[in-house]
Amino acid sequence: MNDREQLLSEEQLDFLTEMMNIGAGNAATALSQMLPSQVNIKIPAVHIAPIIQVSSILGDPSLPVTCVRMGMVGDVSGTMFFVVPEEHKVKLAHLIQRAMPGPENKGTDIDLSVLAEIGNIVAGVYLTAVHDFCKLNVYHTVPALAIDMIQSLLDEALVALSRQVQAAILIENEFIVEKERIRAFLLVIPSIESVKILVNSIGQARMAYREG
């Protein structure tokens, strides 16, 4: 499984993108309620990439990223990461500060916990979309947050996840808030046992969706 063709067909990838687009719409609605301004979201770009390439897709690997890690449990197991590159984190933190003014919120702690919550929301709406289309029950565990180089943040999960994982699903989001474009990534790394379940379910759901 070293390229995307072997994991999902083009049609299945299009269907996955469509599914994720519905998730993205729900994410925009949820974030609009949380932030002071209307949040719009572009159709997410969905990449299936070998894990080795993920850090280069995310930008300069020596720069820090803010990363929320969540485990996936249920019909599909694995790990999810919500990743915000540094420059976009600054924009997002600024919006959060405006949403929650007050001297006690000037520090960085509040920003970080809100960022963890945003990661939580985004992961939740995507998993809901997976549930609605694929009839898979997948839940995410309590988020943990860290800021560092992406490869350092990922390596423990890559090693822990059955030690054979090769493919990752990278969902690239662009939120538009007051003309600011904020990019954030959701990286889904299914365990090796879960890849087949996920791929089969996506294939079946696509057929059912087309017939229905």
Binding site: L153, E156, R163
Partner: protein, 160 residues
């Protein structure tokens, strides 16, 4: 002229002065360097896992601590290094998400314990260490001097 080599996760290399070997984005992974200062020959491995015996099937040698250290020492010997002159340094082995409530084992700590055990069995002195904590590291290994420079975001550069 100095040549820079970059060693990725699960990879390793043995070479001589005046090369510089770098390895980037260490989290729970651990870099081991071995060096014969008289002959200025050394090697670096970017190790992911503590032990190859717990795994099914053959793995590339530099992924696991036991096979990686064996590969480094073989490489040194074939280049004429003297085993008694070889010293080691290690860096990495962090736990990147300290607040995490998950129950997965801390692979970084397992890696460090395993590597130290193997080095002592091979009677290779561990003369420098920058391990643990909750932050990622980049390292540069200088084959002309044997120094290992450790860099981390928001921290002073450290030479071990």
């Amino acid at each position: 002229m100095q040549n820079k080599l970059e060693v990725g996760m699960g990879k390793g290399v043995v070479t001589g002065a005046p090369h510089i070997i770098s390895s980037l984005g260490l989290g729970s992974c651990v870099v081991v360097t071995v060096y014969d200062s008289e002959r200025r020959i050394g090697g670096l491995a970017h190790i992911m896992l503590p032990d190859s015996n717990s795994l099914n099937g053959l793995r590339p040698p530099y992924q696991c601590a036991d096979t990686a250290i064996a590969a480094l020492l073989n490489g040194l010997r074939s280049r004429g290094a003297v085993p008694q002159a070889v010293v080691a340094k290690i860096a990495g082995g962090a736990r990147m998400f300290p607040s995490s409530v998950d129950l997965s084992p801390a692979i970084g700590e397992h890696n460090i314990i395993s590597i130290k055990h193997i080095l002592s069995e091979e009677r290779i002195p561990l003369i420098g260490e920058d391990t643990g904590g909750h932050y990622g590291r980049n390292v540069e290994f200088y084959l002309d001097s044997g120094k290992l420079v450790v860099k981390a975001i928001g921290r002073e550069e450290r030479e071990i």
